[in-house]
Structures are given as structure tokens and as C-alpha cells.
């Protein structure tokens, strides 16, 4: 009898405690994939680490939110957000129109940063690699950089991965000046770049980073400015539920703040070895 009483008492207590915890809605749960380094990955001790996580921690600190990261497979990452398993997604997710139909996004916290990589065996005029080319705003300076780039690459063969924005960009902007080769996989492109079948390629920086750090990557180097905006889309944002305007507002304010004080840039340098955040 006594044992039963104690058991019931304990169960009721724990349910009450659980309800209390659920009502304490200050903890924001952020989902990440944990399998897309350097954006996000899981380290040996099972902790999520990466660019997304560091940015998330910095944002939550700025917005006075209590946050925790959970890992979720990429396939179901959007549906699980809409049903409320967590409150936000930070998983290197690009802002696209299609995704916008289901969820909303914060302002971008990283840009889609495409670079040309050329074989070192190819003799090209030197170009400022640290410069930035934003296709969204057409200024005289950006038009000049674009024209220079086109002139320097004239007659060269450039590889791109098929069905990507990089392919669209090269065909639209340089289609009449360079020979475009479309590959089914980035790996195949890298092989041909090393073999010398193509003079260069265009892809996202995080894709190039892995290649350039490999042994084969010794024979190639980044060339020209970082290209973002325009056909490449606005960038990578935090995925949020459409009805969660309050959280969206808080994150947007925090992104603004950490990008202004240089925190965001520092995190980008730490994980990518390059500035993929400053416009």
C-alpha cells in the first residue's frame, strides 16, 4: 500500500515537473545536420561543432536566448521543424523560393560564395583574390571586375557541376567567351582539372576547400573575386516556422549585431579560413 502511494506520488510529481519544464519556453531548440563539415559536424565526444553551431551560440548570447542544439537527418529537417520538434534550423541551408513556401528564413548569416579555381599550369593575368563581386547590386566597380574576369578567362575551358547555380552563372555571363563543360559530380570535375583537360572550374568555396587541401589540390589555386548574390541566391539563413515572427525578429536583430561587431567574420575565418559573410 505504502509502496503504491509513493509510486503514484512520484509519478504525479514527475508529470508536474515535466509540465513546468515544458512551460519554461525559454530554451530554443536548434536543429543541425551534423554531417556537413565545416558547416556542422559531430565531434568524437558526440558534441555538435562547426560554423553553424558557433554562429548559433553567438546569436543566442546576443539575443539573450537559452539555446540547445539537436541533430536531425537532412531528409526530415524541414518537416520536423513545421511540426514543432525544434524551433530553428541552422544547417548550412540556402534560402530558396521552394523552401520559402514551407518555412520562413532569417536574414542570411552567410553568403553563397563561389570562386573560380584554375590550374597552376595555366598562365593567367593576376587578379585580386580578396575582392568581392556581388551580383545583386550592379555598380560600375562590379561591372568592371566582371568584365576583367571575362577577359582573363577568354578562350579557356571552365568546368561546372551540372544543374547548379554555378553552371547558370558561367553560361549566362561567360557563355560566349569560355568553353563550358558540365560534370555530373564535383569529383569528376576535380579529376579533369588535375589532368589538365580543363583550365579551371567554378564552385562554392566550401566545395573547393576540401579539394585544395587534398594532395591533388596542389596543382590548382583560387582565382579572381568571391562571387555571390544574383543567380546564386541571397545565401544561408536560419530556417524558422512561418508563424514564429517573434523568434525571426530576435534572430534578425542578433545577426545584424554580430555581423557589425565582427564576431561573424571571426567565426567564418575560424571555420572556413575565409570571409564568407561580409557583403
Amino acid at each position: 500500500m505504502n509502496i503504491l502511494k509513493i509510486t503514484v506520488f512520484t509519478v504525479v510529481l514527475s508529470i508536474l515537473a515535466g509540465m513546468a519544464q515544458a512551460q519554461d519556453a525559454k530554451t530554443i531548440r536548434i536543429a543541425t545536420e551534423g554531417a556537413f563539415p565545416p558547416w556542422n559536424s559531430v565531434d568524437a565526444s558526440g558534441e555538435s561543432v562547426g560554423f553553424d553551431i558557433d554562429v548559433g551560440v553567438a546569436l543566442c548570447a546576443r539575443a539573450n536566448l537559452k539555446c540547445e542544439f539537436v541533430t536531425q537527418a537532412w531528409d526530415g529537417i524541414i518537416p520536423a521543424l513545421t511540426v514543432g520538434k525544434y524551433d530553428a534550423i541552422m544547417a548550412g541551408m540556402s534560402i530558396t523560393e521552394k523552401r520559402k513556401q514551407v518555412i520562413s528564413f532569417s536574414e542570411p548569416y552567410a553568403l553563397t560564395s563561389n570562386y573560380f579555381v584554375v590550374s597552376k599550369a595555366v598562365d593567367l593575368p593576376t587578379m585580386e583574390s580578396a575582392s568581392k563581386l556581388d551580383l545583386t547590386t550592379e555598380t560600375d566597380a562590379s561591372k568592371r571586375v566582371l568584365a576583367d574576369l571575362k577577359e582573363n578567362l577568354k578562350g579557356r575551358s571552365i568546368g561546372v557541376q551540372g544543374s547548379t547555380n554555378a553552371e547558370v552563372f558561367v553560361r549566362d555571363y561567360f557563355g560566349d567567351a569560355v568553353e563550358v563543360r558540365s560534370y555530373d559530380k564535383q569529383d569528376s570535375l576535380n579529376l579533369d582539372l588535375v589532368a589538365g583537360r580543363i583550365d579551371g572550374g567554378l564552385a562554392d568555396f566550401s566545395v573547393w576547400k576540401a579539394f585544395l587541401e587534398s594532395n591533388d589540390g596542389d596543382s590548382a589555386q583560387l582565382y579572381g573575386p568571391r562571387i555571390s548574390g544574383g543567380v546564386f541566391g541571397p545565401g544561408v539563413g536560419i530556417g524558422l516556422r512561418k508563424d514564429d515572427a517573434v523568434l525571426t525578429e530576435k534572430f534578425n536583430g542578433a545577426i545584424q549585431a554580430i555581423s557589425e561587431d565582427g564576431t561573424l567574420k571571426a567565426i567564418s575565418l575560424k571555420w572556413f579560413g575565409a570571409d564568407l559573410v561580409t557583403r
Binding site: 544543374s163 553552371e167 547558370v168 579533369d192 589532368a195 583537360r197
Partner: protein
């Protein structure tokens, strides 16, 4: 589904279709040139001649064409001495790699088709040629090959159509032929249904022409057989006009 899109993209696919036709035609021609001597070797009684050819056809018919393309394209680029030799100026170009893979593959199948035809040439005709004192070269040229060609033509036509469709694999090594171009347009328009229907229509059109040409060729080289049959019929003493006359009466 936007029906007009099927016709809108047709002109955009034409460049790709031209490359498809070019690749197929070159591969078929080169393949036939390779297959001709090989099929004679294969059909000859000598083990020393037929075994190496069997090894070749076995290897190329026993592995997927896609694997062969990758081996020639990506495989060759991995080997240092190939990249530094004069061969590289050919293997560097995807067009040549595709042509080499296609014609070797096509030649392997054609060799076996022709061998079948050569083996099916009636013994009596060869013996008759021998009795007339024809040399090997002469009877091969005048008796064996013409008969063998006629016998293997239907199977060969089939193989040419297969080659046309297999040429779509060139898109995997950056060749923007018909399928590759279609895929590129799909990526831009997000309407796979219409664009691929359009590409399929072009393939159907090319296949129709190929099949039609082979049909005419077949009728052309077998017309004497038709005449022979007609003469046989005449010998049965049925006046050709009789059928017509009966029809007239019954009306």
C-alpha cells in the same frame, strides 16, 4: 504540363541532336571498319586467329559501356606517362574518348553479328566457288561477304539503333549531346516532362530515318530474291491477270 514548351525547346535541342548524329555516324563507320576484318578472323577455323578476337568481343560485350567510357576518359587521365605522351592530345578531348569507347563497343557487337552471318553462308555456295577455282580473297569478296551482309542486316540495323541511343552516355563525360542538352534545359526550366518528351521525339525521328534507310537497303539487296520468287509463281501457269478478272466479275 505546358504542351507548347515541347515545341518551344525543339530548336534549342538541335545542336545537341547534331552532335548525337555526328557521334553515332562516326562510331558506326569506325566500328564497321574495325569489325570487318575481326569478324573474318572470328569466323575462320583457326584458333590462333579467332581466340584473340573472342577475348576482345567478350571483354567489350561483357562490361557496361558506361564503365568503358569512364575507363578510357578518367582512367587514362590518371596515368602519368599517357598524359605526357602524344596520345594525350587525342585522349584529352572528350569527343575522341567517346568515339573510341563507342566504336570499340559497337565493333565488338558488329563482329559477332557479322560472324553469325558469315557462318550462315550456305556451304554449297562456298564449295561451288572453290570448285570454280576462286581464291580465298576472291570468294570472300564475291560470295561470302555479300551473302553474310544480307543475312546479318536486320540484326545490324538493330545494333545501329542501339548505338544511337547509347550515344546519350557521352553526356557523362561533358559532351553536350541531345540528352545532355535536355538535362541542362531541365535544370533551367524545372520542367523535365516537356523537355524530355521533346528529346524523345527527336530520338524517335532519327531512329525512324535509320530504320527506314536500312529497310530500303534490305529491299534493295534482296530484290533479286523477290524476283526469283515471282518467276517461280509464274511457272505455276497462273496468269497474273486472273485474280483481277475474278474481282471484276464478282462486282
Amino acid at each position: 504540363m505546358e504542351w507548347h514548351l515541347i515545341f518551344d525547346v525543339l530548336p534549342l535541342l538541335l545542336d545537341g541532336a547534331l552532335l548525337t548524329i555526328q557521334l553515332t555516324a562516326a562510331s558506326v563507320l569506325l566500328g564497321l571498319i574495325i569489325a570487318l576484318p575481326l569478324s573474318l578472323m572470328r569466323a575462320s577455323g583457326s584458333t590462333g586467329l579467332s581466340r584473340p578476337v573472342l577475348l576482345y568481343t567478350f571483354a567489350f560485350r561483357g562490361t557496361p559501356l558506361l564503365v568503358q567510357i569512364f575507363l578510357i576518359y578518367y582512367g587514362a587521365s590518371q596515368i602519368e606517362w599517357i598524359r605526357t605522351s602524344f596520345v594525350w592530345s587525342v585522349l584529352r578531348e572528350p569527343w575522341w574518348c567517346a568515339l573510341i569507347a563507342f566504336s570499340l563497343n559497337h565493333a565488338a557487337y558488329t563482329t559477332e553479328i557479322l560472324r553469325g552471318g558469315i557462318r550462315a553462308v550456305p556451304r554449297g555456295e562456298i564449295e561451288a566457288a572453290k570448285a570454280l577455282g576462286m581464291s580465298y580473297a576472291l570468294r570472300t569478296r564475291r560470295i561470302v561477304l555479300p551473302v553474310a551482309f544480307r543475312l546479318s542486316l536486320p540484326a545490324y540495323a538493330n545494333e545501329v539503333v542501339l548505338m544511337l541511343k547509347a550515344s546519350s552516355l557521352a553526356s557523362t563525360i561533358t559532351m553536350m549531346e541531345l540528352t545532355g542538352t535536355a538535362r541542362k534545359i531541365v535544370a533551367q526550366t524545372f520542367s523535365p516532362y516537356e523537355v524530355f518528351i521533346s528529346a524523345a521525339l527527336i530520338y524517335l525521328g532519327i531512329t525512324f530515318v535509320v530504320v527506314h534507310l536500312f529497310g530500303r537497303l534490305e529491299r534493295g539487296i534482296t530484290s533479286h530474291q523477290g524476283r526469283a520468287r515471282a518467276e517461280n509463281d509464274n511457272r505455276k501457269n497462273i496468269p497474273p491477270s486472273e485474280g483481277y478478272a475474278i474481282g471484276k466479275v464478282s462486282r
